[in-house]
């Protein structure tokens, strides 16, 4: 019999606000500023490396940051037992374009290092001391069926004890992100199955 896994927390960012378990924790106060930097400051996060990241990494880091507030995963689990599975539609295109523009003058090394989408997973792992399985998928839209099956497979095969699973996509100021914490222990948020994941992902569009 297949093991049941559970969503113990989830978060969204849609460019206007940030939500944890469906409840708003930060809302945009002005249209002229960089929303992600505004949120970073507004949430009182202290991680100076944030400023050096590209937009996709800022988005992913913030989404995970609010989700993991009050949790120290690398103290609760072996770092090698914590997996991160992420997906996106536009890959690192936002930064690829900036990097290409920089080559007209002097190619920027700090932009170049962000010209791969899986760097967002690396930044999450560095920030939270995670050393487990990780994979980044690119698909035209969030594929709840595929990602749910993939994460449940990781946990069922004991490749991981816990998984950060989600989506982060950024291009030209348009953004959306959704991350879940998937664990083996039952909680009130619901089972980690395709139906629940679709429902939670869709919530960002209703806010």
């Amino acid at each position: 019999m297949a093991r049941t896994n559970y969503i113990t927390r989830y978060s969204h960012i849609n460019g206007k606000a940030i939500y944890v378990d469906g409840a708003s924790v930060f809302e945009r106060t002005s249209s002229g500023t960089d929303f992600l930097v505004e949120a970073y400051k507004g949430l009182g996060i202290n991680y100076p490396k944030f400023y050096k990241m590209d937009n996709l990494c800022k988005l992913a880091i913030l989404t995970v940051e609010v989700m993991l507030k009050d949790r120290k995963l690398n103290e609760e689990y072996k770092p090698s037992d914590i997996a991160v599975i992420a997906s996106c539609a536009n890959s690192s295109l936002d930064t690829d374009l900036r990097y290409q523009a920089s080559t007209a003058d002097a190619a920027s090394p700090s932009l170049f290092v962000y010209t791969l989408p899986n760097v967002m997973i690396g930044e999450i792992c560095i920030r939270h001391g995670i050393k487990g399985e990780n994979t980044c998928f690119v698909s035209s839209e969030f594929d709840a069926v595929f990602q749910t099956d993939y994460v449940n497979g990781l946990l069922a095969n004991d490749n991981a004890e816990i998984c950060l699973s989600g989506w982060a996509d950024y291009l030209g100021g348009e953004m959306n992100a959704f991350f879940m914490l998937v664990e083996k222990n039952p909680t009130s948020l619901g089972e980690h199955n395709t139906e629940t994941v679709k429902q939670l992902y869709d919530r960002q569009w209703k806010n």
Binding site: V37, P48, Y51, K52, D105, A106, A107, S108, P109, S110, V113
Partner: protein, 85 residues
């Protein structure tokens, strides 16, 4: 030299996106890497780009990097000695 160091501090903050630091917070003789500002290897590459973009100086020997980029003062001295007019 004082004016150049002041300009350099602003350029370093801008080029390296050090939004949490004010240019005037950087000491003339404060180490820029590791125990000082905590800059990393990618920042070192950005500093090389900065020299090239702002002052037309190409660091001919990468091994000179640690000496040139040790402090704002060492950078200013190198620029003064090598600046293309």
């Amino acid at each position: 030299m004082e004016e150049l160091m002041k300009t350099l501090k602003g350029q370093i903050v801008e080029q390296l996106n050090l939004q949490q630091i004010q240019p005037e917070d950087i000491g003339d003789d404060q180490p820029l890497f590791v125990e000082g500002l905590g800059l990393d290897s990618i920042d070192a590459l950005e500093m090389i780009v900065l020299l090239q973009q702002k002052y037309g100086i190409k660091l001919a020997n990468p091994a000179d990097g640690p000496t040139v980029f040790k402090t704002v003062r060492s950078m200013a001295e190198y620029i003064t000695a090598h600046k293309v007019n």
